[in-house]
Amino acid sequence: MMITDPFLRPLARPASAALLRAIVISACLLAVVSAGEPAATSTSPRELPPLAHFRVTWMLNPATTALVSWTTPAQGASHVVYYDRQSRDGRLADYAAKLAALPARKYLTFPGDAGTPDGWAQNALLENLVPATTYHFVIASDGKVSREFQFRTAPADGRPFKLIYGADSRPARPDPKVPHLNRRMLNRLVAATVEQQPDIIALAHGGDYDSHAEWRFLREWLSDQELTIGRDGRILPIIPNRGNHEGREGHSTFEDMFFWPGRTTPYYYATELSDRATLITLNSNASKGGDQRDWLETELKRQRATPGKWIIVQYHVASYPSYRPVEASAAQRQHWVPLFEQYRVDLVCEADDHTLKRTVPIYEDKADPERGVIYIGDGGFGVPPRVPDTTRWYLQPPGFSTSALHFHVLDFTDGALRVTAIGLEGQTLDHFEVHAKSAASLAVP
């Protein structure tokens, strides 16, 4: 086999041969050397006050339990939450209860975080709270005292309430020094929406908070998140979900941002929003078919044992995507979707595709208005929106998909679940109702 390639003639020279080998060896060395952490981006970190990043997290038992968290620039020695069911205007001695924070956790940093001041997460787990009650609190850390904030515990009865669902709030460019204006606008819109609709009890975030789950990025998200705090100091508790940009377990600042004491699973859990509704959070980064699937089946069976209960599921990577290829979510459709259908899940909240979507009711991979599950999403809480593939069968009317920044308001009132998508200008982009499926329409699990 003789080759006559004029381009290869230079390769017959020793210098060329050495050059080729040098290129190959350099590429291999580059691969090995760069196999560690991604390169740092330029940072000009935003100055943080001595107390910052005030937030409340819900994961388990939100009617009686809430995790109050904040950030300090140093580990410090004394961190206390003073709280009461009445406003005390910051007079520490007047608050009915106080609780010392758990041991401080330094936010995990990566080589790219060099130049960004360290931060310490302070967490106080408030337990034995009274359901459906407003709690006022202030934070005192080493002599520094915050303003008074407030949050509401979840109801433990059947009263109406609302929930905000938003996902994908990362910026276009992974540069912490560039303000994320769309995210800030949406956060301000959330605060305004909560002032108009005070029965909103929490914000379920579907994941992908920022470009990388590293300290210099997540501290920006945490600062922007403070814009959701109302003028009256009301903090909307966050029910966190782990997106694909939150990295893997043990290798992400996400776990410090949304620490939960005694957490036993990799961020899949059930949050009882009331005795009539449960939000199940799944982790699309973890194994879909393993322990998580077993847990999901057990949990759905337990939840469905309560007649008429609303069961909502949130996770990040869409099972019925509006942009990515359908094949990419095969594992979820194999392991999770049959359980959603078997246990008559009422609504599934998805993300990751950076579009606004509502599917037709889906049952066994076909449109089925009687037995089908509706999937909404797909993440537009500040991330640059993509253009969806509107030709997919599950996005045909009454389903739809479009390119828009948005978040959803889920209204659990009068036996119906009303879902409204709110756009960047506060306009309604989508609205529909879900009615509880009749048990007779489905085989009893």
Binding site: L8, V24, C28, S287, A331, Q334, D389
Partner: protein, 291 residues
């Protein structure tokens, strides 16, 4: 004989034609399959990490980002086919560059487990065209020059395969959830067996150790039995995408063609040498080219 090629053969006869032809066919198949997979993925909606980088990081419109990616992937496929048809290594460099850029972009945009290792896990994708370039150079030359290029091709493949086996082994040892699901889903689809996550993780530990062992063996010995096992196992791992996620995952298999065709090509490369050289296989860093 090309008049520009070195005339001296140093008394070394040309290699057996059948393993030499096998090397050409296998390596060419691997690079064409990889380039084809990139085109298929670019033509689907989401594209590769290059698309994400162009859209998210460069701020290009989604249409422009897709058009650029599709054009680049199409160009890489076209030049790959041209390179294979013309037996020209020069034409293979665009696809090697495209794979390298894709790996860098994936590492940069993140969003996938262990994407920080993309340059290592993807090494066979961008180094197989380099190996084929060296092999074409070997066919273009004679004597010690031919032997030098043959060994260069072999060592490029050995490093690439060792990199991918070592990193996949490390991911398996760390219990990559995607690998766990490949085992669980394949068990359910093929055998109708429900594999518990704990069992899958135990299997992954064994697989991880085996992969790391294969990586070391490829560098140190690269015996036919080891290469046969590496090729078989890499094929099993690649086709597990189909058994776990259905036939729609075929681009994932094409992308990994160099993983299971690489060991085959390496075996053929060894047999393309005369016995005297097979016994003295050594790193390309130690030049076999004439001084």
């Amino acid at each position: 004989m090309n008049p520009s090629a070195p005339a001296a053969t140093d008394g070394i006869p040309p290699p057996d034609p059948w393993p030499a032809n096998l090397v050409t066919v296998v390596l060419a198949s691997a690079v064409v399959a990889g380039a084809l997979a990139m085109v298929v993925i670019a033509w689907r909606n989401d594209g590769t990490a290059i698309n994400t980088y162009l859209f998210m990081d460069c701020g290009l419109g989604p249409g422009i980002a897709s058009a650029l990616e599709r054009s680049a992937a199409g160009l890489a496929l076209a030049t790959t086919i041209a390179g294979v048809a013309r037996r020209s290594g020069t034409w293979l460099w665009p696809s090697a560059g495209y794979f390298l850029v894709e790996a860098i972009a994936r590492r940069y945009v993140q969003g996938q487990a262990y994407s920080e290792w993309a340059l290592l896990t993807d090494a066979p994708r961008y180094l197989t065209p380099v190996a084929l370039t060296a092999w074409y150079a070997a066919a273009h030359t004679a004597g010690q020059w031919r032997e030098g290029w043959r060994q260069t091709a072999a060592w490029v493949l050995r490093m690439a395969l060792a990199a991918v086996f070592a990193t996949h082994g490390a991911e398996a040892l760390k219990g990559n959830p995607a690998f766990v699901d490949l085992i669980i889903s394949s068990g359910g689809n093929l055998l109708h067996v429900r594999v518990a996550e704990g069992s899958a993780r135990t299997i992954l530990q064994l697989i991880g150790l085996m992969d790391c062992g294969i990586a070391g063996a490829i560098i140190l010995w690269a015996r036919p039995a080891i290469l046969a096992w590496a090729a078989t196992w890499a094929a099993v791992a690649a086709f597990a995408r189909l058994t776990a996620n259905g036939l729609g995952a075929y681009p994932e298999v094409l992308l990994r063609a160099s993983y299971f065709l690489g060991p085959t090509a390496l075996w053929a490369l060894q047999h393309a040498a005369r016995p005297a050289f097979r016994a003295t296989e050594r790193p390309a860093l130690v030049s076999t080219f004439p001084a």
